[in-house]
């Protein structure tokens, strides 16, 4: 056992994408870097934010838009936050109730996870029953789930704030809310879609990896104050998490990871259920399975690199849905929340595959492509949006002007 020079307390929510934090502790990657890593399971994102702010936590598993929202003044409590690392790509799905699934089937949906066909069928259901406003659950207003669900709905011709209603429900309660008919569908991270499918409360109809391939989800968030004062501990933690991500990316380890995550102090769900999201081998309903490519990516394709273009895309969606005003200062604050400079400074010397750029054009890679990197062998993408749109971080304002709040089929 190495000498534990650093003591780090990190908060997390019981979700699949807490994987690399959990592995950093359980597989000894943190201890190897001299870190006594204490993980604290939390019950709400609000608690994560509050405990980070008052210093109970040094860092936390956070929804990627949360630290951005903090820096844009959207949080009730606000200290400057940074995100020096992402905690993987993808991992979410959209699940609908059994009755909505039947209605979508009647409108031509043949199952599977194709975002275009599922979206078109859903739009036809919405048009056919304008008097019934469908209700969808997400976990937080500043979440990848909220923005990707809205993106998918709007691109399918459904206005998220007019044709349907989007409500916030904590992840563990979503499957029951769906079963009880309190909501008609939801967008959430694993394992909660699989839990709903297992309870026969609903069916998965599309996934984040279909709506936007290689898309960002959670980050390692912390106050700028803590990062500035604890550079050594932060660097050690990034190295530990990088090693954990590398280990998690090896499919040989999936069964072991699922076992660890299944423990009550982590996800507390059966390993077999966790394995679905981990491997992308999803059960969509009682009678259908599918292998989703790159459903959840912990390491490959620079999955932990904090692309500033991801931060800017989230900003563009905050503007789109009226959460924040479009200003140059806001764009700058959003972009600078992500700290690829720290990531590169710490990990490039280890020979990690670190991208040379801080931003990339999102949606331009139709297939995986080798790119220039500090060490050879880095591939990125595919990173396409399902509607074929391109997000150019150098032209955020044009992108914002070009996006609508959805063409309402009923209005």
């Amino acid at each position: 056992m190495a000498d534990l020079r650093h003591s780090i307390r990190a908060g997390f929510l019981p979700l699949l994408d807490s994987t690399i934090l959990v592995l950093a502790r359980e597989m000894g990657f943190a201890a190897d870097e001299g870190i006594d890593l204490q993980l604290v399971k939390e019950t709400s994102w609000a608690n994560i934010r509050d405990r980070l702010t008052v210093g109970h936590f040094d860092m936390a598993h956070m929804l990627a838009p949360m630290p951005i929202a903090a820096n844009l003044g959207l949080n009730p409590i606000s200290k400057p936050m940074i995100a020096p690392m992402a905690l993987g790509l993808g991992g979410n799905a959209v699940t609908v109730s059994n009755s909505l699934f039947v209605a979508m089937t009647k409108q031509g949906f043949s199952g599977g996870v194709n975002a275009t066909s599922a979206g078109q069928a859903l739009a036809r259901v919405v048009r056919a029953t304008p008097s019934h406003r469908l209700k969808f659950g997400v976990v937080h207003p500043h979440s990848g789930h909220n923005y990707e669900l809205r993106y998918w709905l709007a691109a399918s011709g459904i206005a998220p704030d007019v044709d349907v209603e989007i409500v916030v429900v904590p992840p563990p309660l979503l499957p029951d809310a769906l079963r009880a008919g309190a909501i008609d569908g939801f967008c959430v991270g694993e394992p909660w879609n699989s839990v709903a499918v297992e309870r026969e409360a609903g069916r998965i109809v599309t996934v984040k990896a279909e709506i936007w391939k290689s898309s960002p989800e959670k980050v390692l968030g912390m106050t700028r104050e803590w990062a500035d004062a604890n550079d050594e501990a932060l660097s050690a933690m990034l190295r530990a998490l990088h090693a954990a991500a590398n280990w998690a990316g090896d499919t040989k380890n999936s069964a072991r990871i699922a076992d660890i995550l299944s423990e009550p102090r982590y996800l507390g769900r059966p390993a077999a259920l966790i394995l679905r999201g981990l491997t992308g081998n999803l059960k969509l309903g009682p009678d259908r399975e599918t292998q989703v490519p790159a459903f959840f990516v912990p390491h490959a394709n620079a999955a932990t690199f904090p692309w500033q273009s991801h931060a800017l895309w989230y900003y563009s969606q905050m503007v789109r849905w009226g959460q924040v005003e479009k200003t140059a200062e806001h764009a700058k604050a959003a972009s600078e929340t992500y700290r690829p400079d720290i990531y590169r400074r710490v990990l490039a010397p280890l020979g990690a595959k670190v991208p040379g750029a801080n931003s990339k054009i999102e949606g331009s890679l139709k297939s995986a492509a080798a790119v220039g990197a500090s060490s050879s062998g880095l591939t990125l993408g595919p990173d396409g949006f399902f509607d074929g749109k391109i997000f150019d971080p150098d032209h955020v304002d044009d992108y914002i002007l070009g996006q609508s709040r959805g063409n309402s089929p009923t209005k």
Binding site: A46, D50, P76, A182
Partner: protein, 205 residues
């Protein structure tokens, strides 16, 4: 955690307070404290499925929510939405009270407060909630300790019985044996008793 959310002008009347807590005992302890302090308009909301509706009906000036509540994200979203509906507005931290914020999080309580309320009116309420939350935690800890002490005593009794049976010794001798083993191994008496019961179970099983 202190937040400010509604912007309605405040008439000088008794503040209306909503306590959102699924723990009935804790909620009633806080309610009692507030009533003793002279607040008559206190509502306890423990059914989460109806929390948002009840809060809109009551229109409270102060909402107290426990940090264990998984519905905090939902409640905050509801507060933000209500802003869109032109009722309550902007939640922001009362920066002047960062000590109270820390004390609140420490105690496990969050509070959402109507914008425009003077700090002097709110602080006693928050302080009351914090102290009652702390008192409740202390009580739960003591209960848990009392429970484990009782458990320990039961385990020791059981271990003594096994020794008496196995070695044909009396109760005092069995207890002495347990105690000397614990002292030699530098372990708690209950631990030694527990492993003895386990071992006996294995041998007999």
């Amino acid at each position: 955690m202190v937040r400010i959310m509604f912007s309605a002008p405040m008439p000088a009347r008794d503040l209306s307070i909503a306590i959102v807590d699924q723990n009935h005992i804790r909620a009633s302890i806080i309610e009692e404290g507030l009533r003793e302090a002279g607040h008559s308009r206190v509502v306890v909301i423990s059914d989460m499925t109806a929390a948002a509706r009840q809060i809109s009906e009551v229109g409270p000036d102060v909402v107290v929510v426990d940090l264990e509540n998984p519905n905090r994200d939902m409640l905050e979203h509801f507060f933000a939405l209500s802003r869109a509906l032109q009722k309550p507005i902007a939640m922001f931290v009362d920066q002047s009270g960062s000590d109270s914020v820390e004390a609140a999080v420490e105690a496990g309580v969050s509070a959402y407060i109507v914008d425009g309320l003077r700090k002097e009116r709110v602080k006693p309420i928050l302080d009351m909630a914090i102290s009652r939350f702390n008192a409740f935690s202390k009580l739960s800890r003591e209960l848990a300790e009392a429970r484990s002490e009782l458990e320990d005593r039961k385990i020791i009794e059981q271990a003594k019985g096994i020794l008496m049976r196995q070695r044909g010794i009396d109760e005092a001798a069995a207890y002495k044996l347990l105690r000397s083993t614990a002292m030699q191994q530098n372990r708690k008496l209950a631990e030694v008793a527990q492993s003895l019961i386990l071992a006996a179970g294995l041998l007999e099983g």
